[in-house]
Symmetry: C2
Subunit: 354 residues, 2 copies
């Protein structure tokens, strides 16, 4: 166990946004929300997965919606607390811990807000080891854990409880509700025991976020290559360096979808890299050849500063480096690929591991 | 109190579809469902509003969605019971009665199904004295009664509980859920005390449905004018007789919207009548002049048989009579018109009472 204070949030949010692979929310917004909550309520206890009792009641908290909208429609009230309390009431048991459902600039910070407001310890883990656009794309789904009962709460005071026949229906019904709520809402779902957290979540995600964020900051300060520093921590590979020359992006059905084109610089001069996204980056093609795809991580970083560039921050002229990194090995199983592999996103190419 | 058996359902469903003003569901489907439930579980006790104790817990049951879809996607399972039980559990009290939320071929029959399955008495009343397309358009809304907590259940086994800041938000969120569920779902909402039923519901709706249905059947059998018989019971006025020469109809946003044109026959020869609908008939114009509009009732009846013609049954060549009838006087107050007057449906003409 260690105590996390507002001062730790900047590195952690930066690293979380790298693992967010374009989605999972804006690190600036996420950091501000978490810092505000920690300033008000004091530090949050970050506990290791092994410290969690097997019979703990762990309830994750997150924001669901289109990241472009979350940038402008900030979580403003008590919606995270309301979502968690609604689930607690339904389960008839006291929640003992919260945890992050996905790595991402906003969604790794929201659990800090909930933990601070409710005085709960936060578990050093997440449900994906990255971010994915749909809520059933979680390792616990592979373990047969139901996403519901699930609570959805908006900033106006509207609350929803879902019980669905499977996690795909939870996604469909919660998505349509969040669209109606203005494309973003607080959610609480996938209630787990401590034993289930140990078996099905990704361990150490929050400290990995912090290490990533710290490595980028220190390299940038020391005038060494921050992209190389991030690539090392990710055990990944830089697959392209270039300049953004085209971005197409639209918000539809509660997601941000689009693609972007990079014109190569330095050793990539004369080549192009295209990548497509649905909240998160899905597939990267160099001169038409697939270099990386879901479920592996495709991270876009500012070439100068190493700062992660989210889907909604992509704009003409940005000089960026694209880093591909291996996903959690459970995503590479046939079941994992059936849940979040290229075919699920409409691509007919086979998955080639980074 | 009287006992209602399967044999009573045909007249009652017919009359309910007349009051449904084009919406509220198909009387054939509604009657079959109710007859089946009454055959299986025995008769339902229909109680007068004055027989309901003030502290009764009354929970209405209904189907929400696009009537065109409900014709093909029949309520098939335990969804009505599930919706009512979910609300009961949430309220922490035993439901003592159920009631119809609106008059309509399907939605006046659904409460019979729920009453039969759960052994509950059904109150001789409804929430509108007609049908309206949106769930906040209920007289109890005028009385400040919240629509939520509200339960939504589909035939697959998906359940939703809503708690919203107002009844308009209940409509928005429940509508998007029912669209996702395939444009129809069972709902339980507007939990009321017996005292609130007495104050805010329309009394005697079920017996009015039965009288209407019986009058039409008897006139048809006796070769007298069934439309005149219905008009008498409604205390209304026949505004047009003609042949359907055009129907435009589309399902969008969970509603059926469209309009129809009649070419006059007999004393209306040489004239046309146009009417527009959103699930229910909204406004009727004779040669461009408004003869009737919401919240008054615009009922389309088969000229020969007097059978009500629902929105989804409109088709070229049908010979129909249009009857306008006064709505419950509470709809004619400024508050009533603000909730369900012409302006709410996008019309800028003032309301002229029938």
């Amino acid at each position: 166990m260690r105590e996390i204070t507002a001062a730790d949030m900047k590195d952690m949010a930066r690293g979380a946004a790298v693992l967010g692979t374009g989605g999972g929310g804006d690190p600036y917004v996420g950091r501000l929300l978490a810092q505000q909550a920690l300033d008000r309520h004091g530090p949050v206890r970050l506990v290791d997965v092994d410290e969690v009792p097997d019979d703990a009641l762990v309830v994750p908290t997150a924001f669901m919606g289109a990241p472009t909208v979350m940038l402008e429609k900030l979580p403003a009230g008590d919606e995270m607390t309301r979502a968690l309390r609604a689930l607690e009431k339904l389960l008839g048991r006291t929640v003992t811990h919260t945890v992050s459902i996905e790595a991402g600039g906003l969604n790794s910070m929201i659990p800090f807000v909930a933990a601070a407001e409710l005085g709960l310890p936060l578990i050093d883990a997440d449900g994906m080891g990255r971010a994915f656009p749909e809520l059933q794309m979680l390792l616990p789904t592979l373990g047969g854990i139901p996403a519901t009962p699930m609570a959805v709460a908006d900033e106006r005071g509207n609350d929803l409880i879902l019980r669905t026949v499977d996690n795909g229906w939870a996604e469909r019904l919660a998505r349509s509700a969040t669209v109606e709520m203005g494309c973003s809402a607080a959610v609480s779902l996938y209630a787990l025991t401590g034993a289930q957290v140990k078996e099905f979540m990704v361990r150490g995600t929050m400290t990995l976020c912090e290490r990533l964020g710290t490595a980028i900051r220190e390299a940038s300060r020391n005038h060494t290559d921050p992209v190389a520093a991030a690539t090392d921590v990710l055990a990944g590979r830089r697959i392209f360096t270039g300049k953004l020359v085209d971005v197409r992006r639209g918000t539809a059905g509660g997601f941000v979808r689009g693609d972007a084109v990079l014109e190569g610089l330095a050793e990539d001069a004369g080549h192009t890299l295209e990548f497509a996204f649905q909240n998160e980056n899905l597939v990267a093609r160099r001169d038409g050849e697939i270099l990386a795809s879901v479920p592996d991580l495709i991270c876009v970083l500012d070439s100068d500063t190493g700062e992660p560039v989210t889907t909604e921050a992509l704009r003409y002229g940005l000089r960026v480096s694209v880093v591909a990194a291996p996903c959690d090995p459970r995503w590479r199983t046939p079941e994992g690929l059936a849940l979040a592999g290229p075919g699920v996103f409409g691509y007919d190419h086979p998955y080639v591991p980074v």
